[in-house]
Symmetry: C2
Subunit: 433 residues, 2 copies
């Protein structure tokens, strides 16, 4: 039995490693088109910032490690150009063919930087691979740009803006839609905008970058451009082989991460997953989900029987020291999904003032009819991750606001207030129901 | 209609405030035996430490506030000495009588310091009231003790040890049982002991304080003693009036916080509550629970219909900058309750090393048969509260380890690792099941 995995970053390597645990005898080949594997893509902005000194710190495992310690054949610079499922083989750019019994597709996603006129100029960067980040870091050091335009107000765009400001570069952030951090939530977007502006980032929403010229984007003069907009799942290879994509445009799988082709699995930024709040497929590409889905795909490809129930869409991003976290649905998203959302938003101290506690903002959203929690957001300098994770856990178990209000959360003065901001928000929400 | 509340700290005032919201016309009287109300008892060790400068910072509300803003008659120095339920009245120490239609008993708990021979000497302190803390602070300032014995290794004892060490006082901690922080868990106790010892506290378990002499306790020479052992619920007043206590010795109520006497409610450190993991009544007196139960008691006493489902026993304590948090049952406790516990304990980075992340320890306990999570602990310098709260939320919804392993937790490098330590622990636990 041979397993071939296309892609050697988060989902692909999770799949390979897990398959090895399930079947110690399986032949496993990982084909990665790039020069390095197993890098922490989420760390790239911090390498640009300079907090991570060496690109090597971003790389968790080497092909040698996988070969020696896991008996997994990991090949870099191995771009797959075709999948022939009838023949159970993939073809590499070099013309070489690799046969498989089971296949895991973990081809990731891309920002289509070349799709923007002027996108191939040397002062234009994506921030997707270690190579991108190294080029950007070198550019910052050698060319000392004065002003950058960041195209895209998603996670990477905002993190890039933060990293550039910390390097003394002026930043204008352009976001095509009216929302930031992919959250259809006016108040959350306003808070993100406020934090960015407070630290000198000019934010323009509903502003698309039509073309990138030598010294400007639209009317913004700049000597550097970062493109992190328009993330697309890499599905072409799979689609040509007959793998079905879903409404989101990403590869559709069942809850075992198997595609419509028997023995072919997909995971990571190229695949959609079930949203546990809506029950419908969604495309929210994140490293956490890629790793979990990869594990399940790898286990099943090796003969296991595991399932991935889905996600609730939890994410967090740090912007100049403040955590902005969301999970589930915003009011606007909940309404669009056919719920009757009710929301409460409160501001409260995250810890007592005598412990230098700072204020945190919590919003909770519930459905008026079922009383089920649908989502929430947390903004704060401390405890934002822990608090959003509590909401995420409640969403994962379809908790009602009535139960949430009575959660037995930890309290001691160094850590929280006796009424945790989450519970204050729940009490407020109960009044609104 | 008149509501009388006995006790003006956490549970009592939560009850009174909530009753006022439910019924704006209710006559509400709060009778507090001490000189101040509404103080944050959990902040007392931090006042002793000196972090909180003024005792007034510990007091959240004054009687004047309640009178003016809430139309609640709060009387201090009003010790109730008898309850006559047939006559629906309470008798004060002064001989005055106060009639009630509904009664909330929130009489709290006490360390029976006078029960230890020598416990009434001026160098012996409890740490239960603002007055206790002020006396202790004055003693530290004026007498500059060199060595203290802390009797009791529960939360307050450990926090007192921390506060004293930070004031340059040598500390020996005596704990009657073999466990610290009330957790029947050898490894957790060992970790607490290690942290205390690392910061110069001598820890002796299975060491009872038989008597307190002028210059020593047992063979430990000392010039100061803090007694925080043997917490007892104040049930005598209620019991004499015919209120039933449970197996724990604290007042038993239904899930509306009503006692066996109709119209008489109890909440806070004098009452037991249901443990949601075991389904049985338990006595775990904490400020968080007191506030929640007080609210429910007050709402129902005012004619509302609310219920308090129970607790999962979540707590956290900071010891020299490290968080020690537990929830649900330890392996030992789970076995004693008739479960077949399986546990996994892991150590992992709470955040990436390039963000100066430190290591955190997570233990998860599940039942082998039902696969339900039963409890857990988290030890770490960062994120311990957030992580224990995730486990507590999972316990509150009777989550199985299989679901827990797939939780959609937030990740970004400033906040966590891509596999949160909670998920690593869950993966380990899945292997052990």
């Amino acid at each position: 039995m041979a397993l071939v995995v296309i892609g050697g970053v988060a989902a692909g390597l999770s799949a390979a490693a897990r398959a090895r645990r399930v079947d110690p005898r399986l032949e496993i080949v990982v084909l990665e088109k790039g020069p390095v594997i197993s890098y922490g893509a989420c760390g790239l902005p911090y390498f640009v910032e300079g907090r991570i000194r060496e690109a090597s710190q971003l790389v968790v495992y080497t092909p040698e490690y996988f070969r020696k310690e896991r008996n997994i054949d990991v090949r870099t610079g191995a771009r797959v150009v075709a999948i022939s499922h009838p023949r159970r083989e993939v073809t590499l750019e070099s013309g070489a063919r690799v046969a498989y019994d089971r296949l895991v597709i973990a081809t990731g996603a891309r920002c289509d930087i070349a799709g923007i006129p002027g996108g191939t100029q040397p002062h234009v960067f994506a921030l997707h691979t270690v190579d991108d980040a190294e080029r950007m870091r070198a550019f910052l050091r050698e060319r000392r740009p004065r002003h950058a335009v960041v195209v895209g107000g998603g996670y990477i765009g905002v993190e890039a803006a933060d990293a550039l400001r910390r390097n003394g570069v002026g930043v204008t952030l352009l976001e095509r839609s009216r929302r930031l951090l992919l959250r259809d939530d006016d108040r959350f977007t306003a808070a993100v905008r406020k934090q960015l502006e407070k630290h000198g980032v000019e934010v323009r929403c509903e502003a698309a970058a039509q073309a990138i010229e030598a010294g400007q984007v639209g009317d913004v003069r700049c000597d550097m451009v970062v493109v992190s907009a328009g993330l697309h799942p890499n599905v072409e290879l799979a689609a040509e082989a007959g793998v079905e994509t879903g409404r989101s445009g990403a590869i559709h799988t069942d809850d075992r991460m198997e595609t419509n082709l028997r023995g072919v699995y997909a995971a990571g930024d190229c695949a959609e997953v079930t949203h546990l709040v809506t029950g419908r497929p969604t495309y929210i590409p994140l490293g956490t989900t890629a790793n979990k889905c990869g594990r399940v795909a790898g286990a099943n490809a090796a003969g296991g029987r595991e399932r991935f129930p889905g996600i609730v869409g939890t994410s967090i991003v740090g912007i100049f020291g403040m955590g902005f976290a969301t999970t589930g649905l915003s009011v606007e998203q909940a309404r669009a999904e056919g719920f009757s959302p009710v929301a409460a938003r409160i501001e409260a101290y995250a810890r007592p003032r005598y412990f230098q506690g700072s204020k945190t903002t919590v919003e909770l959203v519930a459905d008026r009819h079922s009383r089920r929690l649908l989502g929430g957001s947390v903004i704060g300098e401390e405890g934002a991750a822990g608090r959003i994770n509590v909401i995420a856990t409640a969403l994962g178990s379809r908790m009602q606001v009535d139960e949430f209000e009575q959660l037995d959360l930890a309290y001691a003065p160094p850590f929280s207030t006796v009424w945790d901001p989450l519970l204050i928000a729940a009490q407020q929400l109960m009044k609104e129901m």
